[in-house]
Amino acid sequence: MNNFVTFYVEDRTFGFDIMIVKEINPNVNINPVPLCDNYIRGLVNIRGQVVLVMDIAVMLGRGPRPITEESQIIILKNHREISAIKGLDPDIDVHAFGDKPIGLIVDRIGEVIPIKRDAIEPPPRHLDEKNSRFFRGVVRLGKNLLVILNAEAMIGKK
């Protein structure tokens, strides 16, 4: 049983293995950065640490998400922090994590849900490779589908 942080982007539910999440922060005072890729929202100052904020929606081929009251930034652990985790899901590529803090902006944070590893299905094959490369797997949650995202693919450089 691994715990997954779930969150919403455009009314779709996604999840990250909680072990790779450092914190969830409502500070969305994002300083935009000129000349960067469109999926990068900018930088945010979290207790003196400069966190790069990416937009999951843009990475999944959608338009940038508007920032609302409920918007949150999921800050992922860095390479050092991930390497220190014992019993990390072996599918997670520790080396994809960099040394600087990276966060992903989401519309809303959901619950933390325990999921058995074997309940996670691989992503359907007929998905567009461009977007599905960010999918690690799919889990049925009642009526909805929860897409477990591959954070490494998202934060790794292109």
Partner: protein, 1017 residues
């Protein structure tokens, strides 16, 4: 032999390391008196014991003998039989000093005598009626003296099995079982892992005298959780056995670590120093194991070294993968490897940087002895307190901080803290307190030396400064108390009433200050008479702190390193649109007569401009490229026209700034909206995802919590160059000389032998074009330029007797005129400064002002306006007729070029021209002729324009003659000054149309004025 040398070197390094902490341990034990802290004693014991053991192994008799004596003393202290008082501590420390000397002189210690030290130690021991040698063999050492249980904590905690400590008699075991010691060890290791072991060499002795006891102690981690069973299993008869409880210690370590000062450290990774930090501050210093042996070497905590090793092996792995991928041509895999390499490299870099960080406690530790010795010598009673020894600073700072800090400490003890009787009389405790403190504040490290002594008296300092002729009485009195305190940092200032051998070493506080300053530290002093003095030195945490200029474009903030900033030019109101001109696609600005290439940060970084829509008050995005385009769309020679509709939409900022940057030898102007502030910024590394553009060098968090990108100057220059790739580089070269003397001209040809020159100031832009773009209508050529038909002029049609030969690719030169018009050029050659004047005599042609030799080639100066007039009559503005017939004009101008240039078009308009080279010559001409108007340059030798106009306006007979000021600089300041001096109007030298308009209006006004005057007469 070599092997021996290695061993000796090892011994020296190890012994030095051990002995480095002995002093502070001894002093601590001395302070503690009866309530001695066993941990400190054990620490001390281990150090001396190790030195003794190793030296006996290496046959260093004197060292062994002396350290044996020292060890005896400590073992008595440990057993509580001896209390280390001041005399004994002195003897002990002297012994340690001698030990240090002996170690320094290994192999050459023949002349060093240890008799005195041995006698002193003996005396100290006999004083208490004990001799260390009475300690029998039966007395077994405590495990904590053999094994550093606390510092092994991480290792112990990690092994998660019960840990036991045993001492066995190896000799007895072997004899009983009739086996070799190895067999016994094998038996033991079957049941667990030996974490540490110790063979007490002392009990072995030399080969000649084999004792019947060999004490062997070891720490073992075993899955068996019952000690008795374990002992049975190992088949040993332990002399002493103990289970080591590590749970409580383990949690203690963890807990302490999370509260550590340095939150950069990865949680969960236990560093040796982290474990040490868990002790009290006092202990921290004594147990710091990072003290450098010599300045040229670095000692690194083992976990950090392990990490470096891991990273190095990972690097090798990546290299291997890389080679493999290259061999198999696996491009996809290469990207993965590159990413991995990136991670490894940055980790490696960070770790190596970490090796540079040293706890300041290393430096603080040595002051225990300094203060003690000093206080004893002076007969004072001083207690040293140390706080924050774990604060880390860059190695270079830690190494260099010692000397100036020593001076501060000596000063405090010598001058600051009073003698005990004085303190007593003042109602203070006789024991003076000296505090050495280090702490983090606002990203900086503060190091404080404070005492509770007599303090500094500002009045005394003032008097002293006056007495030493550093200040006058008035100056001294004007000083605030705070400033007066800072007098101590002035060279040649010493407040000590008597120079003692302690601090009278000729090193003043000024040297201390400059020493700290060299390290990037700032020193400050605060003091209260009777209460003490605190000297604070503030250091940057890392050297990655730079002063920067913070600028803004729209709502973006950027930091520009101050070292790149030369000056800032402020453009206000209409200047924003008027002062920046265009040559080709490049914008330029005349900065004190030199041509400065201009780049707009908004454009370089592709930042959308926002303007306030006057109807909705909303921010709207501006789709025009930049302000110059706005001007170009209107066409712009008449100044008044610019004042017309100007800018219907209001810019968010109605001013902008040009930050003049120095990039290598080049200067460029960077246009920004706002200058926010200058700030000392902490450089934070850039995320890999943001490196692509190359525009940024890092990020920084500013005081208000906003994040500013630090501009990478080289990257900015690259971005700028990228935008103007199709532009001849020479066009953007910075020109150094003043326009007044050496104007820049653009050189071009039409494919024939002739080279033409046009002053750059007359050109709005130069565009590349293709022959296919030319459209013909009404037997005239046009080019569609941004939606507007621009008529083209072929020079061969305007200038007689020249040949042309155009290629497919050609240029169109668009002069500044009311309506855009283009002169077709085959090649744009260069832009040059004209040193010489124009020869208006040798070659006289229609539409040519004159000729000159530029770079050895004959060059024809084109009369642009004549060319336009001839090709498109009326196109350049029909200002000439307004002047109202031929006039007598005096032109006072020192530059031969402008004399020729301006007089040529005045002549062309049919005026009679008189020339003068400076104001004095001009004034002579004025008295000889009756002029209708005078055109006068501002900057001239002998008598400048301002002086001339003052002179002429002071003469009743001439003051009605209108005088037009001409300047190469079209600056408001110059304009205001000229008008104030008495000029009737002010025009730019190259603005021909404007000049004619002004002349005509001046003539008209003058006419009215003179008729009005006539009526009055």
């Amino acid at each position: 032999m070599n092997n021996d040398n290695d061993l000796i070197a090892e011994f020296i390094a190890e012994s030095k390391e051990h002995l480095a902490h002995v002093e502070s341990d001894v002093l601590k034990i001395e302070q503690q008196g009866e309530n001695v802290d066993l941990e400190v004693v054990n620490h001390l014991f281990r150090a001396v014991h190790t030195v003794k053991g190793s030296s006996s192994f290496l046959d260093m008799e004197k060292i062994t003998e002396l350290s044996h004596s020292l060890e005896n003393m400590i073992s008595l202290v440990r057993s509580g039989e001896l209390i280390l008082d001041r005399v004994k501590a002195e003897a002990f420390l002297q012994g340690v000093d001698k030990l240090n000397i002996l170690i320094d002189a290994i192999g050459n210690d023949g002349g060093i005598d240890i008799v005195k030290e041995l006698e002193d130690l003996e005396a100290a021991l006999s004083d208490s009626g004990k001799s260390g040698d009475e300690e029998g063999f039966e007395k077994l050492p405590d495990f904590s003296t053999i094994f550093d249980l606390s510092s092994n904590n991480a290792k112990l905690a990690d092994c998660k099995k019960p840990i036991y400590a045993f001492t066995i008699d190896l000799f007895a075991e072997c004899t009983a079982k009739k086996v070799l010691p190895l067999a016994i060890l094998e038996e033991i290791t079957l049941l667990g892992d030996i974490i540490a072991s110790d063979l007490d060499l002392e009990y072995i002795g030399g080969l000649s005298e084999v004792k019947d006891k060999i004490l062997f102690s070891f720490l073992i981690a075993s899955v068996i959780d019952d000690m008795d069973i374990l002992i049975q299993g190992m088949q040993i008869v332990p002399l002493r056995a103990e289970q080591i409880i590590i749970d409580s210690r383990g949690t203690q370590v963890g807990k302490k670590e999370t509260t550590g000062a340095d939150n950069q450290k990865p949680p969960g990774k236990k560093r040796k120093t982290g474990a040490k930090n868990s002790r009290t501050d006092d202990n921290d210093i004594t147990t710091t194991d990072l003290k450098p042996v010599a300045e040229s070497t670095v000692r690194i905590a083992v976990p950090l070294l392990d990490k470096l090793m891991n990273l190095a092996s990972e690097l090798v792995l990546v290299r291997n993968q890389h080679v493999q991928a290259l061999n198999s041509n696996n491009i996809e895999h290469l990207a993965n490897i590159a990413q991995r390499l990136n991670v490894v490299t940055s980790e490696l870099q960070a770790s190596i940087m970490q090796t540079r960080m040293r706890p300041i406690g290393n430096v603080f530790a040595k002051f225990a002895r300094v203060v003690r010795d000093l206080a004893n010598k002076l007969g004072k009673n001083v207690r040293l307190n140390i706080v924050g020894g774990e604060v880390e600073l860059d190695k270079s700072i830690v190494e260099a901080i010692g000397d100036p800090l020593t001076h501060l400490v000596r000063n405090a003890v010598d001058h600051g803290i009073e003698f005990p009787d004085k303190r007593d009389a003042d109602g203070k405790s006789p024991e003076g307190q000296l505090l050495l403190k280090a702490f983090h504040q606002a990203g900086q490290v503060h190091v404080q030396v404070s005492d509770d002594g007599k303090g500094l008296d500002p009045d005394m300092l003032r008097k002293s400064a006056v007495a030493k002729n550093i200040l006058t009485m008035e100056q001294a009195e004007a000083l605030s108390d705070e400033d007066a305190l800072n007098l101590i940092f002035i060279a040649g200032f010493s407040s000590a009433e008597k120079v003692t051998d302690v601090s009278g070493r000729g090193v003043g506080m000024d040297v201390v200050k400059s020493n700290f300053h060299k390290l990037g530290g700032i020193i400050d002093v605060s003091s209260k008479v009777g209460e003490g003095t605190t000297i604070t030195v503030i250091f940057p945490l890392t050297l990655a702190i730079v002063p920067a200029l913070i600028v803004a474009v729209e709502n973006f903030h950027f930091a520009i390193p101050q070292s790149n900033v030369m000056e800032i030019v402020w453009l206000h109101g209409a200047d924003v649109y008027q002062k920046i001109e265009k040559v080709d696609e490049q914008e330029v600005y005349w900065l004190r007569g030199s041509l400065l290439p201009i780049m707009r940060l908004s454009k370089l970084l592709n930042i959308q401009r926002k303007f306030v829509d006057p109807s909705t008050k909303d921010f709207v995005e501006d789709r025009r490229a930049d302000e110059s385009d706005r001007r170009a769309q209107r066409g712009d020679i008449g100044d008044e026209r610019r004042q017309g509709p100007v800018e219907r939409r209001n810019s968010v900022h109605n001013s902008s700034y040009i930050v003049i940057l120095k990039l290598g030898n080049e200067q460029i102007g960077l246009v920004v909206d706002l200058i926010i502030d200058t700030e000392e910024i902490v450089v934070k590394p850039l995320h890999a995802q943001l490196k692509d553009s190359g525009a940024f060098a890092g990020t920084t968090v500013m005081g208000d919590g906003k994040i500013a990108m630090i501009l990478d100057m080289a990257g900015i220059a690259r971005l700028g160059a990228f935008q103007s790739l199709n532009v001849d580089d020479s066009l953007t070269k910075t020109k150094k000389s003043s326009i007044d003397d050496r104007p820049s001209v653009l050189l071009f040809n039409v494919g024939g032998a002739e080279t033409f020159a046009v002053p750059l100031g007359l050109i709005k832009r130069v565009e590349k074009m293709n022959a296919g773009q030319i459209q013909i209508a009404n037997n005239k050529e046009y080019i569609n330029f941004r939606g507007e038909l621009v008529p083209l002029i072929r020079l061969e049609k305007a200038v007689p007797d020249i040949k042309s030969n155009y290629n497919e690719d050609m240029f169109v030169i668009i002069p500044k005129s009311i309506r855009p018009i283009g002169i077709v050029a085959a090649n744009v050659l260069d832009n040059l400064e004209v040193d010489s004047g124009i020869d208006a005599v040798t070659i006289t042609k229609e539409c040519v002002i004159g000729s000159t030799l530029l770079d050895g080639a004959l060059t024809l100066f084109l009369d642009v306006f004549a060319v336009i007039e001839k090709s498109e009559p009326g196109w350049a503005g029909n200002a000439i007729k307004y002047v109202g017939g031929p006039k007598k004009v005096l032109l006072i101008e020192d530059s031969a070029f402008y004399r020729a240039f301006i007089s040529s078009y005045l002549k062309h308009a049919g005026h009679e021209i008189f020339l003068a080279q400076d104001g004095r010559e001009g004034s002579e001409k004025v008295s000889q002729n009756q002029f209708d108007f005078i055109i006068c340059d501002l900057e001239m030798p002998v008598m400048d324009g301002y002086q001339f106009v003052k002179w002429i306006k002071s003469k009743d007979e001439y003051k009605n003659i209108p005088v037009l000021a001409l300047s190469g600089i079209d600056a408001t300041v110059a304009r205001d000054r000229a008008i104030a001096a008495g000029f009737d109007a002010f025009k730019s030298k190259l603005d021909r149309g404007g000049m004619f308009e002004t002349l005509s209006s001046m003539c008209a006004n003058n006419h009215k004025r003179s008729t009005a005057g006539g009526k009055r007469d």
